[in-house]
Structure formats: structure tokens, C-alpha cells
Symmetry: D2
Subunit: 297 residues, 4 copies
């Protein structure tokens, strides 16, 4: 099929390559002219045959909303926009409604795969009508991972518009908590100094244990490259999906204590000095005359 | 090699089979005479050639301590006791010291594998001296999983006595938190009713995603067998290792918020009515005249 | 002063009484005609002298938004609306902007006091312009608690529009966590059975300890009325502010683990059977053959 | 009465003063000869009339155990040891049993009051037999806070040996979580920058609100002395009771999520760089090529 692809960054660039490797024609657009196949969004749209399918792969939030709005002006009846970014699922219905006024279709698609996707395929969770999805299905088939011995995985029509990004959001929330799980275990093993070689213990878990996983494999890779993780700082950004997962939990009275713990640990990792702990220290000092450490100390 | 194996329950029984399949001679003892190869611990010890190696696979705690104490009376210089149960690592040094008085060796070995171990092999984490471990290495080699394309995993000499059970304990703490991670995501997806088929979303995650893992595979199995998990009650025991992991964290000032959240969720699952929430309801009523629900209601 | 008061429920009704006791003229409106002083909002507005001040004390959310919208149609330049309900602070700026189009002022006021406010006074946290606040200051003075030996407390101009409800929201978030703190301690003391009379221990804490507080006093009252809290069920609603506090924390990368723990404990208290724990039980069963409890059991 | 008092530090020294102010004879012993009334423990014991009552007020743990052991050698039938320190309740029964061999009585007494106790009295929670407690009751009466309008509080016979320290431990666990509650609210108010003066909001809460408490008063004091807490670092020690409370919860399957959150926040406050967050950053980097911050950066 022919496909327009907006955003050729770390993810989009690799996806273009994988799609082309599968024999599809991809016209990519990026604000960086050196890697772009089109001079503008309008140029990209003009180059596509009808029905035009444009896959948006730009940073979530205002940038994605702006691109989709501009595409709404450029596309027409029967065309399709796919939002493959990490948009909040609550944006999807607004985008779909705006495009529907011009009879343009909309599919939201959560994409997982990181830097490994080019080689191994991307996991895809998408939402929208069956008709709209049919228009982009060849691209999904090219991007998804190959079937393994147990069957074909990594590709799901999750439900109506929004269901794809919602599923991807929950996926990322789970990812936060699983990463936190290994991280806590690693810190404890390192701290207690009973185990001679923590990396070897982690490596041993890669087979036969109930906690074997791809994240464990990645953790062992990281430990091999930087024993003791001495070169890395304990600082982690969060990309939105973790926050939204917890907020979706709260809105629906679903407790998510492990995911929340993982999110808060990231928040704390970015604080030079915790304001809350200043308050704790101050109260302790008022009550018990506990010595406090001065901010400059 | 020839090996005595005390405890032929769900784990021990399958381990005997796997050891025998590998060509080893196993003399098993169990309080159930129908499955036992010896009439008593003394009988089992008598039947073994020297140096005698006895693997203890009975419930952790007093039972394990009692069996090891009795073996200390029955065995002699150069013999070896392996504790393969889920003992707390703090028991190991006491057991080793007691046995050392008679020059009996001791190895602690955490074993993971569940009902899958017979077929796939057991992950082994062990602690002790190199000399002691050498005496039981053939059994370790028979029990461990086969090498896969990436190498040989599932078997590690973690350090001195106690390091094996400590590693297994942390493994289980991580397991608690990973299970909780998937469980929170599943509850949220089911509750929000945006996704048509939550099982299919989970299934799709088995390839290409960063959260693919064996536990995810097991969760999909469970959802296939009992869609919506309608036949199962939200009730989970804890087996000790989760508690010990959190306590080890506390003793070493290592925060384990995700593992702790998983542990507390299990505690709550076993309460018919939460005493703490009675107190909350009572205070709210005192302050705001909020209606309370009577205990009988 | 003369004041219109919309909503004469548990809170509004008592506030009318306290305002009248202080010599103010209050025209109350409620959908229940038996307690209402006006037949309609329009009637209430008509009966007030200019500049008209109308205090809205109805359930937060759509009802409050609707009442304020209707007041926007009925009031005019120089009049003032006070929202004394538990509205989310994000509603305040929208309401203020809508009213400002007709030069009607707006003050948001968080009110704390529960059933005790009539007698002891209400704590007030308000936001808005100094001019607007001056119009309602006599009512604030009547409602607030009397000065005590340490000074005048219970009344604060927190900042611009929204600052009042935001302060009240954080207040309630703190309240959730403090209630949870006592509740956890109470459950532990009751469970361990080392203490002969837990109520007496709680009572003793009312003086000399660092945890003495009004909530502790209320907890002792509750324990006196219902020893062991045997008549009450461990079930607690949440009223919105706890959720909003946690969400505000997340939006601002401020970790609130204790407040969040309190909120989640309330969520769990309202679940008959935890879906997440069904998933845990299912995974354990798949892995280890752990017996599960059937949903009907 | 006549009383021996071992340990004249911040707490013990003030308690000696308060006891003497009430007319009691106190012979104090401290390793600092400048403030000591006796030259040794033996000298102190010799100076007391029979039945001798010795109150131990030294750091919990080995020091307390050593002092009590030495007193066991010096005292005799009918004498009494009171442990007023922050000992773990599990120590109490061992100490009582050791002393009972020589018919020496034992009372454990949790003491709260901080630097305010000298003036306001100390809250006392004690465990032991009625006969033993009678021997020290005059000292309890002198130390406890005076009755207030609502009655006599701050003094409770909690149960048998250990019940005093257990009650005090839970008290401190609750204290941890209440401090954390205010601290989280304060951080959120400061961060959002909607409120003009956070100190004034906290001050206003001192009357009329459901969260008024002594800790709130202390927090306001601290904010008055150091606006914005700019001079203090977000660093808090923990003194044992918080850990023991959580561990007692775990041992008894009582979830204490808010207290645990408070404890873990203290742990984190003492880490320069979080090992767990290094692991998170490393895994993110392996998966997604997320930039990491180098340890030196």
C-alpha cells in the first residue's frame, strides 16, 4: 500500500524502513528536510493516491493535535488518519469527531517496540471502526512481529476509537511497575552484601523462573555493559502514560498501588531535595529537638 | 550420583522423577509410606553410600529445622545436607553452624519452577562452600533447565551459606510485584469498558512489547481457561518470602514500595471486613455525620 | 448584612442558623419548600438588596455549575456569587470568567466544620479579589470560629479565584491520610492482642503525645459509642477531594504516597471481590498449582 | 518516692527535673560525671532504699539491654526496673524473664513528650503487673500531664509486660504517617503556586478544621521560624519504632500502607542517588534508547 508517515524520529524513521522492507511505498514527512520525502504536509498529502492514509508519529500532546488538525484541512472524504503516537486516549474521540465532520476516518494505534522494533516488529494496539482499520491493515501486517511457535501476537483490534491508546497506556503503566519490581530487588541484593555477584543472580533468572521476561534480559544487558550501574544516575523521566494510567484508575475507583509506587519513585528521583521531607525534618525538630541538616550542608 | 530426598510432595516428588530421568539414584523419604522409598530418616541415611548427600524438601520453618536437626544426629563427617525448601535465609547460618560441629556440610538452595519444573527444569540459586557444592553439583545439573540459544541460565552459585535462599526470597518478592503489576492493569482495562476484549489485548502483548514475560503467558492461559476470571475469588495467600523481602528491605533501609504494595494487597484480600476501614468510617461519621453501613448490612 | 443562601442541607441549614444568630439576614433557598425562604432562585435574587450576595452551598459538580449559571442570568453588575461547596478548583476560573462577562464577582470558599460547625464555627479558605471578598466578609466573620488563646484561626484569604477550593482540597487530602494513620494503628493494636484495652490506649494519647488531635478525640468518641467498632462496616466513600488531591499531585509531579494509600484503601473497601486479586490468584494457580478459592465459595 | 534514674540526656535530664519539682527524690546516674548524682550503677543502687526502683532511660538496643543486665546483678527480691526508653517490645519479655529469676520486677514504659514534656508532662504507656506498677505509680503521677477540662489523659496501663512499648511503637508509627500527611499537603500547596501564602493557609487550619492537631501547630511554628523551610534539608532519620510498626504489621498480616509510605519516604531522603532508579534508568535506556544521566553529571 501507499502510506504517508508524519514524523521520522527514532520511532518513525525505523517504522518507515520496516514498511519499505515489506514492499510498501512510504512517503515520509519530517520538519528536518534531510530525511523528509515531502516538503510539507500539503505536499505529502498531494503525493498520496486516494483513499489517502496518513500515519502520524509525532510527540503526543499539542504537536499531535496540531498535525491532525492540519490534516483535517488537507484530507477529504474516505481518507484516513492514524495516530500512532503516545496520545492520551481522551484526545482520540475529539480528533475522530473533528475528522468525521469531513468524513475522514480515524484510527488510534498504540505502538510498542522501542529501538528493537525495526528488527523484531512493533506491537500494535489499535482502536476504530473495522472499515477504517481495513484501510491500514497492510501496514499493520508489515509492522507487527512475525508469528512465533505459539501463534501470532503483537497486534490487536482493541475496540472503538480510543481503545488502542488506552490499551497502550495501561501497557506502559504495567511496564513502569515491572521495571520498579526488578529495580527494588536489585537494590536489595546489592545492599545486603550477602550475594557475591548480583549480576550472575539476575542472569540465572533468565530461565526456569517465574520472573523471566524480556525486561529481565534487558536488565542483564545493562548490568553487563555497566557492572554495578556505576556510570548511570538514578534519575528517570516519565512520559505521560504512567500518570494517565494512575489517573484513569482514580477516575474509575480502581486502586493501582504498584503502578503508583513506580510513578512516584520517578517523581522523587528528579527532586534535588524533597520539600515534603523538609517539612518532616522541621516537625521533628519542633517536637523533639532532633538535629536538622541545613540546606547548605 | 546417589541422593537422599526428604519430602516427596508437589515439588519433591517431581524433582525425584527429574533426577531419576537423568540417571541418578534417588532414595526418597516421605511421611506418606505409599510414596516413600525408606521407612524412616534413619533408614534413608543408612541406605546412602558415603559421603551421604541428603536434600531436604519439606515445608519451611519448624518442620525443616526439625528434619535438619535429626539429620545432624544421623549423618557424619564429610556428609552434606541441602535445604531446598523456602527457608528464611536467617535459618541457614544456624543450621550450617549446628551441622559444622559434626563436620557435616550445608548448602542452601532456592528452587523455582512450580508445576512446570519437571518438564522445563528448575531454576536453582544456591549458597555454600565450593567443596560442599561440588558434592551435589550432579544433582543441580540434572535439575536445572537446559541451555537455550542465549546460553545456560537457571543455575547460580550466589555466595556463601544463606545467599541462595536470600536470592530466592528476593526473586519471590519481585514475583509478587510483577503479578500485582499485571493484575492492576487487568482490573483497569476490565473496569473502563472501552476495550472490547481484554483477553485479546493481553494476548497481543506476548510479542513485540516490553512487558512480555512468562507471567504474562500464564495470565493469558488463565484468561483462556476462565474468561473474565468469573470462577475464581480475589483471595491470595502469601508464602513468607514476600514478607521477608519487605522486612529485609526495612532492616537495610531499602525502600520496596511496589513489592510492599503487592504484599499488602494480598493481606487485604484475605480480610472479610477491614478493621482499619471501620475506623475510617467511624471517624467520618463522628465528624461529618456521614452515614455508616452497619456490620450486618 | 443580607445574604442569599442556596442549599439548606446538612451544611447549609446550619450555616443559615449561625449567620442569623450573628444578626445577619439570610434568605435561604432549597428545593425542599418546607425549609426554603424563597420559592425559586429568581425569587431569592429579587428579595435581596443590591449589591446582591448569593452563597451557593449545593453538591459539587453539575448541580453547582447549573446553579451558578442560572445565577449568572439573574444577577447583575456588582453582585457577587460565593461558591461554598466542595467544587473542584478547576471549575472556579470557568465560573468566575462566565460571571465576569456580566461584571458579577465570584469568590470560592472551602468550608470545613462538619456537624460541629454550627456550634464551633466553620473554617473558611477563600479565593478571589479583595473587593469581592470585602462584600461577603461580614458573613465570613460570623461563620468562622471564635479566636482562641493563641489567636484567630480558621479563616484565610488564600489567593486568587480557585485558591480557596484548592486549599480545602489539600486539607481534605491531608484528612484522608491522617484518618488512615490512626486507622492502621488501631487495627494493629487490636490484632496483636497484647494490649488489654485499645480504647484506653487511644484515650491516653489525647494529652502529652505528639499525635493528639481533634480526629483522635473523634476516634475515642466513636470507640466509646461502639466498643471494638463491632456495629460498623469497613466501608468508606470518597467525596472527590481526595481524588483531586492525588491528581493535582500527579499533574505537578508531587508524590503523595500517604494520601494515595488512604484513597486506595477506600476504593478497596467498596469492592466485594477485588478483580486484581482474582488475577493474582489465577496466575499463582497457573504457575504453582496453588489452590484457588472459587467465586461462589 | 525515691527513684534511681539511669540516663540524664535530653529526655532523662528533664524528667529528673519534673520528678524533683513534684517532690520526689531522684538519684540520677549518667556516664557524664558532671550531671550524675552517683559514681556508678552500683553506687546508685546502693543509695536507694528498698524496695529499690530504677528507671532506665538510655538509648534503645544493646545499651539498654546491658544496663538492665547489670541492674539484674545489683538488685534483689522485690526491687523494680522500669525501662522508659524506646526499646522494642520484643526485648521486654526477655528482660522481664531474666529479672524474674531473681524476683526483680519489670515494667516497660513508653514515654512521649519530646522537649515539651518538662513543661507539659509526658504521656506514659506502660505494661506489667499491677503490683509492679504500684511501686512506680507516684513517679508516673508526677510525670504525666495534668488533667484538662475533658479529663485525665496521657497515662495508661496498657497490659502485661511489652504492652507499653508496643503501644508507644504504634503511637510513633501513627506519628510518622501524620507527619507525612501534612508534609505532602505542604509540598503540593507550595508547588502549585495558586496559593499566595501557604503558611497562612496552614495557620488557618488550627481552628475549625478536622485536621487541627498539635503537629499542625508545630508545623506552623516551623514555618514561622523559617519561611518556606529554606534553611532545612529534606533529610529525616528514623528511630526504630516506624520500622518495628511496619514489621509488626507484616508479622500479623495487617496492612499499614500510609505508615509504610512515611517510613520509605525517610529512607529515600537519606539516599544521595537511588540504586533502584539507576536500574530503572538502565532498563529504559536498553529498551527505548532513552538518554541517561551520567553519575557524574
Amino acid at each position: 500500500m501507499e502510506l504517508g508517515l508524519v514524523g521520522l524520529g527514532k520511532m518513525g524513521g525505523n517504522m518507515r524502513t520496516r514498511l519499505r522492507n515489506a514492499g510498501h511505498t512510504v512517503i515520509g514527512y519530517d520538519h528536518n528536510p534531510e530525511i523528509s520525502d515531502a516538503t510539507s504536509l500539503a505536499d505529502l498529502v498531494e503525493k498520496l493516491p486516494s483513499p489517502k492514509v496518513v500515519w502520524v508519529m509525532v510527540p503526543a500532546g499539542q504537536i499531535t493535535r496540531d498535525v491532525i488538525k492540519e490534516l483535517g484541512d488537507l484530507l477529504g472524504e474516505g481518507d484516513l488518519v492514524v495516530d500512532g503516537g503516545n496520545s492520551r486516549w481522551t484526545d482520540d474521540q475529539a480528533n475522530a469527531a473533528m475528522l468525521a465532520e469531513k468524513s475522514i476516518g480515524f484510527v488510534d494505534c498504540g505502538v510498542s517496540g522501542g529501538v528493537w522494533g525495526l528488527q523484531n516488529g512493533y506491537a500494535l494496539m489499535y482502536g476504530g471502526s473495522a472499515d477504517d482499520i481495513a484501510k491500514v491493515q497492510p501496514a499493520f501486517d508489515a509492522l507487527k512481529p512475525p508469528a512465533n511457535d505459539n501463534g501470532q501476537f503483537g497486534c490487536v483490534h482493541a475496540g472503538k476509537v480510543g481503545a488502542g491508546h488506552f490499551s497502550k497506556m495501561v501497557h506502559n503503566g504495567i511496564e513502569y511497575a515491572i521495571m520498579q519490581s526488578y529495580a527494588e530487588g536489585w537494590e536489595l541484593l546489592e545492599k545486603v552484601e550477602l550475594v557475591d555477584n548480583v549480576t550472575e543472580v539476575f542472569r540465572s533468572w533468565r530461565e526456569g523462573t517465574v520472573i523471566r521476561s524480556w525486561l529481565l534480559d534487558l536488565m542483564v544487558n545493562a548490568l553487563d555493559e555497566d557492572p554495578g550501574l556505576s556510570k548511570i544516575r538514578g534519575y528517570a523521566e516519565d512520559s505521560g502514560e504512567g500518570r494517565w494510567t494512575v489517573e484513569a484508575g482514580i477516575d474509575n475507583a480502581v486502586p493501582t498501588p504498584a503502578i503508583t509506587a513506580a510513578l512516584y519513585a520517578r517523581f522523587v528521583s528528579r527532586q534535588d531535595d524533597s520539600p515534603a521531607m523538609k517539612a518532616i525534618a522541621a516537625m521533628r525538630n519542633q517536637f523533639g529537638g532532633h538535629a536538622v541538616t541545613s540546606a547548605g550542608g
